[in-house]
């Protein structure tokens, strides 16, 4: 559990609040969006597999775990990239609210899981499931409520720049 809290702190440190769009800031937004999207996809996949196991259908091997999380991880990465590229002004709010929801979900879920399941891993299962719900709810709320208002006085904004470095 300490590692999860540490990871939360690390992720909070990466939160990037909305800033004017420049090429440099967008580079970081795209990268950060992709990385956090991949992490979100992985967490949701683990939560899905945990829910399946709690319903009586666990994974048979650890190899299945790698396969089961690969697609959601890639999907999350793509989603994060898309937000960082095309909706950068939503990124900060999405991440901030997402992490807040995730941390809250872990706390509530961990507590509930210990009561619902009496085996030693019940608390962990609750934390993962709660974290997933928190991520989804927080991320969605953050996306909807964030974003900069259009500036009617602006004649022409900075064009969108996507840099691909080799």
């Amino acid at each position: 559990m300490r590692r999860v809290l540490l990871l939360t702190l690390v992720l909070l440190c990466t939160v990037e609040l909305p800033r004017p769009v420049t090429a440099v800031s967008q580079d970081w937004s795209v990268l950060g969006g992709g990385a956090l999207g991949a992490a979100t996809g992985s967490w949701l996949a683990v939560a899905f597999l945990t829910a399946r196991a709690r319903a009586g259908d666990p994974l048979d091997t650890r190899e299945e775990a790698i396969i089961g999380t690969a697609v959601p991880m890639i999907a999350g990465f793509a989603t994060g990239l898309a937000i960082g590229t095309f909706a950068e002004d939503h990124l900060g709010g999405t991440v901030l609210w997402g992490i807040a929801g995730w941390a809250t979900g872990i706390g509530i879920g961990g507590s509930l899981g210990g009561h619902i399941w009496d085996d030693p891993s019940g608390r962990w299962a609750g934390a993962v499931l709660g974290g997933a719900v928190g991520l989804l709810v927080g991320g969605t709320v953050g996306y909807i409520t964030s974003g900069t208002e259009p500036n009617p006085t602006a004649g022409s904004g900075m064009p969108l720049v996507v840099r691909i470095r080799f």
Binding site: A45, A53, P58, R62, A65, W124
Partner: protein
């Protein structure tokens, strides 16, 4: 080559020094003699597990074990007093396929390499026996008809080796039977085999309880014999299945899934917990076995019981064809992530001695193709074998 040998020596020695030799305190008696007198030995049981990944013509572990089986068969020169327990996962990665399958040739080589351990002239003369237990990979990590077919294939191959080639090997428990099956070594020891993969995949409580009841009866009827319960899945372990997983190894995914009990083959899963609780309840209600022998983890561990219902000793010997990390489990007396096997001597004075043999991790497998590189690998791998741990599990008398 010299650098490789030096590295290999230290790779083996360092973990032994750090972890292996913490064992002396609390032992049942003084460490046994390095070279026990065969005249004082009633029977010998070797434990090797997860050896189903050896291609080509064997690996250093199987070769060293073959030499040991030959040596003890000749030294004791009595019928059926040398036993090798293959503790499951006898055929990686997904069991023994039928001849129409493209994997059959590889599966046949992998199982054949283990059968060869019992094929030496002295082993044959004195009827050294090989008992193969089912593991989750032998079931193809599945259940139902597919698993049954794989297990019947493996059973058929072993039966043919016994019937056609005269090598006394068999699958125990028999295909799709959960056990327990009993094998008595005279009046000194009773080996009870279980198919714990059956128990893990069995969803109905009643047949599972029947297995535990039968196990309790088998232990109770052992009389004065020391009891070894042998199965693929350990009750306690400091290996990966027990949760000793590097967090970043799979970016936290496997670590989290283990903590949430989402992988059936890990001790944290609900199915596995039910297996452990069933065994503990069975052992606590009657006589506690001296030894619970298992594979599953790719390392060598000696663990003493720490709570009611634990066997006196849990021996994990699952590094027959690969080796993995090991951390300290509760009650751990020894742990080493290196290829090897264990030897248990049942003495005529009713003492029981354990020895653990291992080589350097890089010699878990050797190149498949015959040639100088393979020859050197096999030679060095066998030469570097040494006794890395020994303990008297039971004092005489």
């Amino acid at each position: 080559m010299l650098l490789r040998i030096w590295t290999a020596s230290w790779a083996l020695l360092v973990p032994t020094l750090l972890y292996g030799q913490v064992s002396a305190s609390g032992a049942a008696g003084a460490p046994p003699s390095m070279d026990p007198d065969p005249a004082g030995v009633e029977s010998v049981v070797f434990l090797i597990g997860d050896a189903g990944g050896v291609d080509g013509n064997g690996n250093p572990v199987l070769r060293h074990l073959t030499e040991a089986v030959e040596g003890w068969s000749g030294a004791l020169a009595r019928d059926s007093v040398v036993i090798v327990l293959f503790l499951g996962d006898n055929v990686y990665p997904s069991g023994y396929h039928d001849p129409s399958d493209g994997s059959h040739a590889r599966d046949s080589i992998r199982l054949g390499n283990q059968i060869s351990v019992l094929s030496g002239p002295l082993a044959r003369s004195f009827g050294a026996r090989g008992i193969f237990l089912p593991g989750n990979h032998d079931w193809g990590n599945t259940d139902g008809d597919e698993a049954l077919s794989l297990m019947r294939n493996q059973q058929g191959r072993l039966d043919r080796a016994r019937g056609r080639d005269g090598v006394p090997v068999r699958l125990s428990p028999r295909a799709q039977s959960p056990g327990p099956e009993i094998l008595d070594l005279g009046a000194t020891a009773r080996i009870i085999t279980l198919d714990t993969q059956w128990t893990l995949t069995q969803r109905v409580e009643t047949p599972r309880r029947e297995v535990f009841d039968a196990l309790a009866t088998a232990i109770a009827e052992a009389g004065e014999r020391d009891v070894i319960v042998a199965a693929h899945h350990p009750m306690v372990t400091g290996g990966e299945h027990g949760g000793s997983i590097g967090f970043w190894k799979t970016l936290g995914v496997h670590w989290l899934l283990n903590r949430t009990g989402s992988i059936r083959q890990d001790l944290s899963s609900s199915d596995y917990q039910q297996l452990i609780q069933g065994l503990r309840l069975t052992f606590s209600q009657g006589r506690t076995p001296l030894i619970y022998a298992a594979g599953h983890e790719h390392n060598l561990q000696v663990i003493s019981g720490t709570q009611a219902g634990d066997p006196s000793f849990t021996l994990v010997s699952g590094s027959g064809s690969q080796s993995g990390a090991v951390a300290r489990a509760a009650g751990a007396r020894f742990g080493l992530g290196a290829p090897g096997y264990m030897r248990i001597l049942f003495l005529k004075d009713r003492g029981v001695d354990l020895s653990v043999y291992a080589t350097s991790p890089e010699f878990a497998t050797c190149p498949e193709e015959e040639g100088q590189e393979r020859t050197e690998c096999m030679t060095r791998g066998v030469q570097l074998f040494e006794m890395v741990y020994s303990e008297r599990l039971k004092s005489p008398g």
